[in-house]
Every structure is written in C-alpha cells, then in structure tokens.
Amino acid sequence: MTGNDLAALSIADLQSLLRRREVSPREVINALRERIEAVDRDIGAYLSLGIEAAMKEAEHANVDLPLGGVPIAIKDIINVMDQPCSCASKILNGYRAPYDATVIQKLRAAGAIPFGKTNLDEFAMGSSTENSALKATCNPWDLSRVPGGSSGGSAAAVAADEAFGALGSDTGGSIRQPAALCGVVGLKPTYGRVSRFGLVAFASSLDQIGPVTKTVRDAALIMNVIAGHDPQDSTSLSAPVPDYVANLGNDLRGVRLGVPKEYMIDGIDPQVRAAIDVAVKQLNSLGAEIIEVSLPNTEYAIAVYYIIATAEASANLARFDGVRYGYRAENPKDVLDLYGRTREEGFGPEVKRRIILGTYVLSSGYYDAYYLRAQKVRELIRRDFASAFEKVDALISPTSPVAAFKLGERVANPLQMYLADIFTIAANLAGICGISIPCGFTELDEHRLPIGVQLLGKPLDEARILQIAHAYEQSTDWHNARPPIASSLRKA
C-alpha cells in the first residue's frame, strides 16, 4: 500500500490496519505528512502541523483504544496544548495554547493524535474561509472555488485525503456547509452535547464542536469519544451518551422523515434541488415515510441569527485587547489608544463589522428593538421545530442552496453571503442536531461539484440522524467519490 492509498482510508479502515499491526501510528503520520506536502500547497487546508509532537505521541499510541493511533486534524479555533491557536486572525499572532480543550483531552484519552491545525474564517465568522487573515483555502474539487466555511480547512483536508477526520465548529452551519461543498460528512451535535471548553468563543449560545469525516461511521466513532458532560462547561448536558456506532445498522422501516415546505425556496440551484429530490426518493425506497411539514418562521432565521450571533461575539471578542495574549499595537499613548489600535490592526473587516453590529444591537435604546425581539423570535423558531418533531423523526433539506462558488465572487456583499446559510442557521438557533452527507454532484464546465443533503434531528437524537445518514450512504456510492486533486497535481 502506498502512502497515498493509506491516506485515502476511512478511520474505520485505518483502525483495522493499525490493530492488525499492518501499519504503525508513525507510518500513518508519515503517510499523512507526505500527502500534505504533495497537495497542501494547492489546497491550503493547514495553518500549522506540529509534526514532532504528533510523532512523539505516535510512538506511545495504544492502537487498541477506541481511536488508538488515529490522527485527527483540528480547526485552529480549538486549543491544543503548546500549539498555535490563531483563529485565523492576526490578533492571536504568536499565541500558543497553554492547555488542551476538553475535546482534545477526550481524543487523547481515546488514543487519537491531534495532528495539524486547519484554516477557517477569522474567528469562525464566514461561509467561505475567505475571511481567514492568514491564507486562502481552495476546494479540492475545483481549486478556483471556495471550500465553504467557516470550517473550510477541516472539510478540504478530509476531502483531499490530507486528514482521516477532523474537528470543526458550527455556529450557523460552519461544519455542515463546508462538508457539503467539499463532498464529505459533517455533524453538528445538539447544543450542549459536546463540551465547548477550550473552543475560542464566537457566539456562546450557538457554538458546537463536531466531526468532519469521510463516512458516517467515522463521524459516529468520533462522537462516541467527544460527546458527554463536562464540569468545565456549564452549558454541557449530563444526558448519557449512547453508542452511536452500535445503532448504525438498523433499517429505516417506520422512520418518519419531514420535508419542510418553507425550504423549497426559489434560490436553490436546480441541480441541487434535483439531487435532494432523488435522495428523498431513495430514503423512501429504503423504508422511510416522507411527510410534508411546516416551519412557519423560517424566513426570520437569518435575521435572528445575525442579531444574536453578533451580540454574543461583541461581548466574547472584548477579551482581545492587547494585554494578556496575542497582538499588541506598538507604543500606545494611553490605554484607549492601546485597545483601539490593537483591535484596528488585529481584526479583519468581517470581525470588525460583526463586533460593531453586535455592540449596536445591545446598546441602550436599541436592545429591546433588536436583541430582545430576536431572542423572542428565536423561541418561535425553536417551537416550529418542536411541533414538527411531534410528527416526524427527522427533517431533510439541502445543506446549502448552491454548490461551491468562485473564490472572490461574494466577498464584497456580506448580506448576500449571509443569505446562503438559510438551511443551516435555524438548527443552531433551536439547538438541535444536524448532519450533512454527500448526495450527488452538479455538472459545470468540466468540473463536478459536490452536493450535500442535510438531516436535522431532535435534541440529543444524534443516533437517529446518524442511522438515517448511514443507511442512505450505504445505499449510494457518493462517499466513495474522490476529488481529481491527486491526478491533476501529479502532472504539475
């Protein structure tokens, strides 16, 4: 088996080789490093690697643990001890994490090796990874297109076989949308299912960490390790964690699947719509009953999101002031000059825009009209889902209304960029879980671009959406498709 063949494996297949001692964890890290050296100049998925630390851990890895010897790439907004955690921002220039996030502690305890920090939109604010202040990431299926965002580095790394699996974070779709645009699996757990301790906070009532993987089984394997209560995160839930893998084989007879009629909007690419229709029929043929449902407040979700997320961001990002860590403006004349210039020079435009908007909607005289009203509409959106889930077990929709768009195409119009998050944002507002899995391709010029189908589940019902996603995946061949990156690079 060549290094490239090894890097192309799923986590489950890699584990079989590791446990039969056919490869060693060190060989696995080496294969990944070679793969990264071969393709990442063009993809740009990684911000830093930390090879030496990974090699050292590989020496002692116990391959019989649940994720023993498996390298996992980490979005560079999650703290991994002694490694940078840049949040793709200049303001964290030079920062090295003095501790491990809870998810990293859990991965290590399960034998996994955190390896490589992946690119993102600055502080996870964006849908294309173009807001990274550090580098561009390209879509492995078409290098002139975005990988989606904000976990674009994680999704591109997994799609290009530069990672077996990765962690991302999802505040309004930031795991699911890049997974869809790169043709991989991305799961956003229920709010509180996975600890946020050590995840640099963007919008604390919406953020969740979750896996980006090549297969649904791999997502379940990672969830088995990272889910669960954490005393360090007071919003984490104490509900017991089921075995997400054990539940995968069950068939879909008796499963009721809801199609929200408000999601059939005009802006959906016809090829995306057609692929979703086929996926719904496929699930129906596997035994799922298809039922139309209504989420009447859908059209308000994006407005609610951009008030609540920016309000929370404006408070969370107040900590970046040039005093305790990261970038600090030179020769400040007083403390206000230190704050003002540190933040002017350290933050990129999208982060500044959101802090300003968030400060405004929380300010005296506007709080009731914007923030308080948005919190109430958020409750209406949560109720929409609660009543839909009285009739169905899960909901199905496109993940993104369009496939990957061109780099640079949307940067000048933030509102246009926000509107593309229509199908993912409401799940964060309602706190429910969601998964995106590959369901086909758009054909455009000579390129095929992946399409993702989204399943949304009840709070704490990850096992159910994983089961449905797995049944669908195993009945199709989409997850076996690999991007053309390898062959196109070989001739270069």
Binding site: S205, T235, R378, L415
Partner: protein, 96 residues
C-alpha cells in the same frame, strides 16, 4: 455620520474600542445599513407574551462543589503576554 439607519458606525466603533479609518467607516456604514434593513422584517411578527430563548434547552442552576483545585500558575498565565514585568501584565498608565 449616520446612513439610512440609526446606526452611526464611527460612534459605535468607538464604543467597541475599534479605531476605523474614514474609508472603512464609510464601507461598513453601507454594508451594515443593508443588514439592518434586512433584519427589519422581525418587526412584522407579533411577539407579545413570548418568552425569550437564551438557550435552546432548559439548563438552570448548574452547581459544582466549591473545592480548591490546581489551575494556571501566574507564570503559565503570563506565557502569552505581549508585555510583562514582575509576574504582572504591563498596560499603559491609566490614572494620571
């Protein structure tokens, strides 16, 4: 100078402790006016008697034992400080 909404970007940026160039303030004013115009749609809804949802799932009164434990030493907490002296963060003079 405000645009089509009540938002005055230059003023709010000062509240948020972010210096902006005039050029930046102008661009943001236009972009954020567009966003605020879009969120106006929330006014169409009647929200009388609706509770606010700060969190999606009911989590209240989270307690833990008030017990001492190991945490960062001062030295560890200072490892990322851009400027430090005598085990303390250094800031510009605040009181004249």
């Amino acid at each position: 100078m405000a645009g089509n909404s009540d938002l005055d970007v230059a003023y709010v940026a000062r509240l948020a402790r972010i210096n902006l160039t005039e050029e930046e303030a102008k661009v943001f004013q236009k972009q954020l006016d567009d966003v605020l115009k879009y969120v106006e749609k929330l006014r169409q809804l009647d929200v009388t008697g609706i509770d606010t949802a700060a969190h999606a799932l009911p989590i209240t009164n989270v307690f833990r034992d008030d017990a001492p434990r190991d945490w960062f030493t001062a030295e560890q907490a200072l490892t990322n400080a851009p400027r430090q002296a005598n085990g303390l963060f250094v800031v510009p003079k605040v009181v004249e």
